[in-house]
């Protein structure tokens, strides 16, 4: 296997008395989809927050392509190739869908100071390209406040892609989607396989089994198992701690 793009090593984080991240070591290979599953409150979102630099870990290191990110701001981590989506869509409600993507395109780009970026056709077409990839073709002008929940989830993805990431941290992309929408999301993510590595936090096991190359299981902040889908399904510890409740 090619060397991992993202390496999380011995990461720990406490919120008061609660150990949310307990000595987590985990990596994502180049072009890999690595799923992270675990019950509510296991610390999955907190882990993504620490990788992005939004939450500061107590100890441990995070490497992107071998480079230590610890001292870098969220902005520099994004510039180096990290992007995330949010569990609850965090989008710009007053803007149209295209302008949400435009913001991501402009974040690390110089433009001519006196030109209105909204009137730049090349830029608009580039933004529309990301909307198309995320399955939102033709929705660029719709105010995000008027988009359906599923469309906002797709927009999250389009915005993240517009930062040209090497590693995409997806925080429950299927959450709140109907069956048809889930199928669409799975299709979109599948189409990205090979282009960008993904850490996929997800409760929807159909999506996980459809997409993941490897699965890690997080319970009470601790990785209790890591392996292929079959390994995980067979693992007795996992079955009792997590999957068991679903199969019962």
């Amino acid at each position: 296997m090619s060397p991992p793009v993202l390496q999380i090593e011995a990461l720990s984080k406490r919120f008061g008395g609660l150990l949310v991240t307990d000595d987590v070591t985990l990596d994502v290979g180049a072009a890999e989809i690595h799923a992270l599953i675990g019950p509510n409150g296991a610390g999955k979102s907190t882990l993504i927050g620490q990788v992005m630099g939004e939450i500061e870990p107590d100890s441990g290191t995070i490497l992107l392509e071998g480079q230590d990110l610890s001292r870098l701001s969220q902005a520099s981590r994004v510039r180096r190739g990290l992007a995330r989506t949010f569990q609850v869509p965090e989008v710009l409600g007053e803007y149209g869908a295209r302008d949400n993507v435009l913001a991501a395109l402009l974040a690390h780009r110089r433009t001519r100071p006196l030109v209105n970026p909204r009137h730049d056709r090349a830029l608009a077409e580039e933004a529309d390209g990301f909307l198309l990839r995320a399955g939102l073709a033709g929705r660029g002008d719709v105010r995000v406040a008027d988009l359906a929940h599923g469309e906002r989830k797709l927009l999250e993805l389009a915005v993240a892609l517009a930062t040209m990431p090497r590693v995409l941290l997806l925080d429950e992309p299927m959450a709140g989607l109907g069956p048809g929408e889930s199928a669409q999301m799975i299709e979109v993510l599948r189409s990205l396989r090979g282009e960008v590595a993904m850490l996929l936090v997800e409760h929807d096991m159909n999506a996980v089994f459809a997409l993941a190359d490897r699965i890690s299981v997080l319970v009470y902040g601790r990785v209790i198992a890591c392996g292929s889908a079959e390994d995980i399904q067979r693992d007795p510890v996992v079955r009792s701690a997590y999957l068991g409740t679903e199969e019962a």
């Binding site: 994004v78 409600g93 295209r98 435009l102 913001a103 974040a107 433009t111 529309d128 993240a160």
Partner: protein, 337 residues
């Protein structure tokens, strides 16, 4: 109107065509105003309108922080007052010929003094912003208010420049070739400065910086996740906003030939906030409308009854409820932001 929506990706829907002509109509009225005032023997109207123009600059500047950046500053009177004192102090030293602090030469040149007013206000805004922007929400409101009150009391105590009596200037700052003593000339000078400021402001709103700043107002977390150093952006917005407010303060000092700590009073900050919200936060012309509406209303009510402040409050509440989103959004089919 609705069926035209989304046909051209570059065109924003939601406004009937006639609205595009409104700024032009407004400009014609403003140009005609001093002549009409003279013709009807109401020269005081020109002075009143000049005050409105100057406060419109301040409100428009506050709008960069408030409307675009979502920063509810309750301390903008500080920048207004600092700009005014910069002009007042320079002018006093310019008239006396004694350098300020023994080495800074005074000046009675309008352009020089306004540039200094903008710079000093920008620096003060930079310092206050660096501290206040560590917070947000109600703490931010309180901290900006606290800084403004500190400056207010500083200038009350500054006896060398008039203390709480304020500082009077013998004559207005000059611009070569223009007679600034003439109220109509001063009116047109103020109008020109307002238009220039609005031009800068419109550019800013429709720039990359404006788009990203508007994004930060809607979701700071989202903008951080796409790699925008949001604190730096908000700080820059706060500074630019302070610069424009200082420009207005300086111009007001020249116009009235008078500066006093009252210009920094928290009620002045409150009035600027009301102008922006009343006129339409986040719009280019809203703050101008708000400044005209508020000053006009105050003047009307004051001429009608001495208890005008009791009426002004409810009138403002009524207007806020009637024109949700501000005067500038009247007749627009979409409400927001």
């Amino acid at each position: 109107m609705d069926k035209a929506r989304g046909s051209d990706p570059m065109k924003k829907s939601g406004s009937p065509r006639w609205r595009g002509f409104l700024p032009l109509v407004g400009l014609v009225l403003l140009v005609a105003l001093p002549f009409a005032a003279q013709a009807f023997g109401q020269s005081a109207l020109t002075s009143l309108a000049t005050r409105m123009l100057i406060l419109a600059i301040a409100a428009s500047a506050l709008n960069i922080a408030l409307g675009l950046g979502g920063l509810v500053s309750f301390g903008h009177a500080a920048f207004y007052g600092v700009g005014a004192y910069a002009v007042g102090i320079l002018t006093t030293h310019g008239a006396s010929g004694m350098p300020f602090l023994g080495f800074v030469p005074g000046s009675e040149h309008l352009a020089v003094n306004l540039l200094v007013a903008m710079s000093v206000s920008g620096i003060v805004a930079g310092l206050i912003g660096a501290l206040a922007l560590r917070t947000s929400g109600v703490p931010f409101i309180m901290i900006t208010l606290a800084f403004a009150q500190m400056l207010f009391f500083f200038f009350v105590a500054l006896k060398a420049y008039g203390g709480d009596d304020g500082l009077s200037m013998r004559r207005r700052n000059a611009l070569p070739g223009l007679n600034m003593r003439d109220d109509v000339t001063f009116y047109f000078t103020s109008l020109t400065i307002l238009l220039a400021w609005l031009g800068v402001s419109a550019r800013l709103f429709h720039s990359r910086f404006g788009l990203l700043l508007g994004g930060i107002r809607q979701s700071e977390r989202r903008m951080q996740a796409i790699g925008v150093p949001t604190v730096r952006y908000r700080w820059l917005a706060f500074v630019l906003s302070g610069v424009g407010t200082g420009l207005a303060g300086g111009l007001m000092a020249v116009f009235g030939r008078f500066v006093s700590p009252d210009m920094m009073h928290w009620t002045q900050s409150g009035e600027l906030l009301i102008m922006v919200v009343l006129g339409g936060a986040g719009t280019i012309f809203g703050p101008v409308l708000g400044a005209f509406a508020l000053i006009g209303l105050e003047t009307l009510l004051a001429g009608w009854t001495e208890h005008w402040q009791i009426i002004l409050g409810p009138a403002l509440v009524l207007m806020a409820l009637t024109f949700r989103g501000g005067l500038a959004r009247l007749g627009r089919s979409e409400q927001g932001p």
